[in-house]
Symmetry: C2
Subunit: 241 residues, 2 copies
Amino acid sequence: MDSTPLTRKLKAFVALTSVELEVLERLHQRRRVFHAGRDLVHQGQSEQAAYILSEGWVCSYKLQMDGSRQIVDFQIPGDFLGLRSVLLHTSDHSVEPIGEIVAAEVLVSDLLAAFAQTPRLATAVLWAVSRDEAMVVEHLVGLGRRDADQRMGHFLLELGARLKLVGLGTRAGYDCPLTQYHLADTLGLSAVHVNRVLRRLREAGLLTFRDGHVTFDDYDGLVALADFDPAYLDHTGPLLK
Amino acid sequence: MDSTPLTRKLKAFVALTSVELEVLERLHQRRRVFHAGRDLVHQGQSEQAAYILSEGWVCSYKLQMDGSRQIVDFQIPGDFLGLRSVLLHTSDHSVEPIGEIVAAEVLVSDLLAAFAQTPRLATAVLWAVSRDEAMVVEHLVGLGRRDADQRMGHFLLELGARLKLVGLGTRAGYDCPLTQYHLADTLGLSAVHVNRVLRRLREAGLLTFRDGHVTFDDYDGLVALADFDPAYLDHTGPLLK
């Protein structure tokens, strides 16, 4: 019953009972495959569904009037896609698969039914959404107050911690399908600047990002550089026993 | 029974029943007064409570290693304070009253009990948290992609829309206790730059911020300048009937 990344993730917050595990499992019934190059959710769209991502990576972004793109975050297995969009009627962002993904469609009525069966699950989902918000806050602080090297280090450490929680990464590193353009639009840098920053971090012996893999050459050194305190990701063990 | 700003706010999302109104009212039992200059919640603190703000304004911020401050958002009546901090064990930010405020303490156990009584309320709180996240996302896009005038216009329009929802503002304007230092630390500008931007917006006939009051001199003109689309604030009427 510990089969889905969402289950693995929520266990960090709540010691799930067998009833809660069953309810979570049922939320994964309508699994579908989606491909790169077509948005799951469009900015400005309404009446869309939310999804639970079980395989692959997804990019959430906003387009500005001038055509520039600000990437808000990436979603990895165990994350909700477009939950905010469903609750807020109109999507404030677009959601695009990076490569092929598998995601289960979830309707608001499914969520309500699940919450009615187990209110602890409602609190767990609230935890997950709060954690997403904490990450956006960190990205905000990154853009406002960190230099390019710190920003990159912080972002790649955060992804590592998130992937580790769902069993897809270790302190040594992780597979990462992102391109330099993804990193540029996330960190507010140009693609050329991204390359320069990655070279600097590699030459400093901190981090290597090559051939779709992030290697932490000096984890503690990178944590110190980026002032990375993972407390906001809350992987300290269940609050609700 | 329509007495609290939180009730007024949640009604935008869910048509509240009398049972739900009662449950909400009970969450406001432990009301306390707090004063400026003392944080309600400290960054790094654990075991703190969450609050529902009923009177006054509050500032949420993060301090960086170098001592600089990034303001993440302001809370106004009807907003939760520190809810994310409670759910995530450790607070990722500090919460400081601006002037005197009134807030009701809420424990996680209170929330769980409320959700058990009415799962629709859980969805409504999830909506409120998602809306908070949507605002942080807008601030992120603002820092990453908007120029100083657009950033200021967007931020003051957003505050206006939020205040209007809880009955504290109109299209003409609103009372606003923020200083130029608050605006600077929110928008990633210096205090001098904030003054210059406000003068420019006033001279363009768009907006006047003086003596604790924001006046929209040309609401539609400001909306056009800032590319402000309030859809992400979701004031379109209840999704859950």
